[in-house]
Amino acid sequence: MFPIHFNPNDQTMKRRDALRSLALITGGLVLVPACDFSKDDILSAYKNLNVTTSQQKLLAQIADTIIPAGYIKGASDLAVQDFILVMVNDCVDSEGQKSFSDGLSAFDAFSKKSGGKVFDKLEVPQREQVLKTVLASEGEEDKTIRAFLNTTKRFTIQGFMMSEYIMTNVKPYSLIPGDYNGEVLIADLKSEKING
């Protein structure tokens, strides 16, 4: 009805393009068996973070453990890992960025210590256990991992709930919320349970 005359964020487009080309490059690498995987590509789209493609994959697994797929899509189905990286790269202060990067780098070591294997090799219940261990930890020693996981969880929830899929298909958002009713009886609200 009201045409939109400019794209509010050319950066989004650029970043999507960059990610697409990276996906092509890394996809290509997988097909070459002799490739040296110790040289992990750094994702240039997130210039404030030194995040590699394998760390991005790990982040997707962590996000999926926080919000798994079921009846309704899970975090990585909605590319929430990319949203997390955008938010940490753009909207978190440099101190927060450092603890995020450090925690992500140290995560597999923590997974080995706490769950016996790197995160990728764990089954879902063990993955959940690792995350619960981090979130319940209190000591100074796990501070970085905990900060990283709290940030990741916060942005996973935001990225999931504010995704196009959820706001369109599951809990449709309306730009026009309707007239104000300041006296709604909660008992009269009918809400069908949404199964995850």
């Binding site: 706001m167 809990k171 919320p177 309707g178 104000y180 009713n181 006296e183 009886l185 909660i186 609200l189």
Partner: protein, 569 residues
């Protein structure tokens, strides 16, 4: 609209020039054009056309890369404007970035600006309360500033005039301190706000009131606004993006397109006003000198009458920079008071609490306004250890939330079925009157210039002891009212914000009876150069407590009427 590619002086000559296309300038332009006056509107920023230039207006939350947040880099580059509650991912293109127009803060002052057609009328909070004789008579009664040269009766018909056109929702509350107006249906208070209203009546009789705030939204009778191309407010509460319905009043949706349709308006955008040209022989202003924002070329435009509506502080700047041998210290500045007695609204404090009752209720939908306390301190007479008083906002709200403590499928289902209700929360914020003082001033820096070769401003504005006492009283009184209503967990705050963030800066070119102590007369004309009218916040003799935009609109319409009558003489 005329396309300006003109050289001859004749083609640069109009009957009137309005400097600034925001709330007050657009009203001056609309009134002049309606009365057949060929009017040039000069705007320093770019054009923003209704509907067409609201790029974010229909975007969904997930279409914003940062879901509405301003990035770290933007915050670092814009420490001033980033403090503004309304500077968000969906509205940032309507705000001036810090580097674009620097100024010198002798004391901290957060100057929030919108340089585009429509100015800040796209960004305002749309609250419109009339000021009363308790406010107009304040300086004379309490012995500060100078006496206002007008009273409520002078402005009342013009309040009605602008309210009918802009569209104002509200109740006829019958309060002398907040005169009633021409109202569209009022928005509703919710069940807890009504409860609080009743509690006030019970505990304070007829001394204190909490009403629904009047706001410039079309809440009904939408057919009255059809010929403006505006429709009923849809309660989107996304006003800062520009409204596709024209549901609230903005210059862009209302006064400017109206003025344009008369065929009498010419708009010159991207033109930064350098100064008003004064002709010594004629003894009056003859035009306006601008610097093209893009080419940096200087141009001149001429007219018989000039309306200066550049927004309070820039209006001061333009007059200070309009020097001539007759006016070496700025146009109309014979008494040396230009730029002084600047004041603002004190928005530092707030009080919040919880309410345990009404657990069975919540709210649905949305509304563009909230509750409002008209000033109840020192209204009829002086009764506290500080001068004047404060208005206050009030609202109660309750929403459902999700338990976010777990992870996995448990968390996912909790998020998707957010059905926990916490207590009702209530909150208030103060809007204090500040006393204009000679020591609160803006002045030109002798050396520093901006990108257009115009001197930078030095801003020296601060709170005083009266403001501190008022904050304390507001916190005490609101706490007492909350306690008496049975609210719990009452918390007071003082965010220590700098002046400016209230975005209600006023004065510097005040109205008054006497040319020795004021700059403008009762018709908003410069005493010493009567074909220049100032009808934005700069003209305010005192600040009152009410949101001031409605008063600027009414003063602009009234002054335009006066100017046209003078032209016909």
């Amino acid at each position: 609209m005329a396309n300006l590619n003109i050289d001859a002086a004749k083609e640069r000559t109009f009957e009137a020039i309005v400097i600034g296309s925001g709330i007050s300038g657009s009203w001056a332009a609309k009134e002049l054009c309606d009365k057949g006056v060929k009017t040039l509107v000069i705007e320093r920023g770019r054009d923003v056309k209704h509907l067409k230039d609201y790029p974010t207006t229909n975007l969904l939350p997930f279409e914003f890369e940062h879901r509405g947040q301003i990035t770290q880099q933007e915050q670092k580059e814009n420490p001033i404007v980033s403090k503004c509650y309304n500077f968000r991912e969906d509205s940032k293109h309507f705000f001036v970035k810090d580097k674009e127009h620097p100024y010198i803060q002798e004391k901290p002052f957060d100057w929030i600006r919108g340089y585009q057609v429509g100015g800040k009328s796209l960004l305002w909070a749309r609250q419109v309360q009339r000021i009363s004789d308790f406010d107009f008579e304040g300086p004379a009664r309490d012995g500060f500033a100078v006496d206002w040269p007008i009273r409520y009766k002078d402005l009342a018909p013009w309040y009605s005039h602008v309210e009918k056109f802009a569209g104002v929702s509200g109740n006829k509350d019958g309060l002398a301190s907040l005169p009633d107006g021409e109202f569209l249906p009022a928005y509703k208070l919710n069940v807890v706000e009504k409860y609080f209203q009743d509690q006030l009546k019970k505990n304070y009789g007829n001394d204190r009131h909490m009403i629904v705030a009047r706001c410039a939204h079309i809440s009904g009778n939408a057919e009255n606004f059809k010929d403006q191309g505006r429709a009923q407010c849809q309660n989107r509460n996304l006003c800062q993006r520009g409204c596709p319905f024209g549901g609230y009043f903005s210059a862009n949706s209302s006064t400017l397109p109206w003025a344009e349709r008369t065929g009498n308006m010419t708009m010159r955008t991207d033109a930064v006003v350098h100064s008003i040209i004064y002709d010594e022989k004629k003894g009056k202003a003859t035009g306006v000198r601008i610097v093209d924002a893009v080419t940096k070329e200087t141009e001149e435009y001429y007219a018989d009458v000039i309306f200066l509506n550049a927004a309070a502080i820039n209006t001061n700047l333009i007059l200070l920079n309009s020097t001539s041998s007759r006016f070496p210290n700025g146009l109309g500045n014979d008494n040396g008071l230009l730029g002084k007695f600047v004041a603002f609204h004190n928005y530092r404090a707030g009080v919040s609490a919880e309410h345990e009752g009404h657990q069975e209720y919540t709210t649905s939908g949305d509304r563009p306004t909230s509750g409002y306390f008209p000033r109840f301190r020192n209204v009829e007479k002086q009764e506290t250890n500080f001068l004047r008083g404060y208005a206050a906002g009030f609202s109660a709200y309750r929403g459902s939330y999700a338990d976010q403590s777990g992870i996995g499928m448990e968390l996912k289902e909790n998020l998707l079925n957010a059905n926990n209700y916490g207590p009702w929360r209530v909150g208030s914020h103060m809007m204090g009157e500040t006393i204009p003082k000679e020591t609160n001033y803006v002045a030109l820096d002798p050396n520093e210039k901006d990108a257009w070769g115009i001197p930078q401003l030095r801003i020296n504005i601060a709170y005083d002891d009266n403001d501190e006492k008022m904050i304390k009283d507001y916190q005490e009184q609101m706490t007492e009212m909350f306690e008496k209503a049975g609210f719990i967990n009452i918390k007071t705050r003082d965010d220590n914000r700098a002046p400016g963030l209230d975005i209600h800066e006023m004065g510097g070119v005040r109205m008054g009876h006497d040319p020795k102590t004021s700059l403008l007369n009762k018709h908003n004309q410069l005493h010493a150069c009567t074909n220049v009218y100032v009808t934005d916040g700069a003209c305010m003799t005192s600040t009152a407590t009410q949101n001031p935009s409605l008063t600027y609109m009414a003063l602009a319409a009234r002054a335009a009427d006066h100017a046209v009558k003078e032209m016909k003489k």
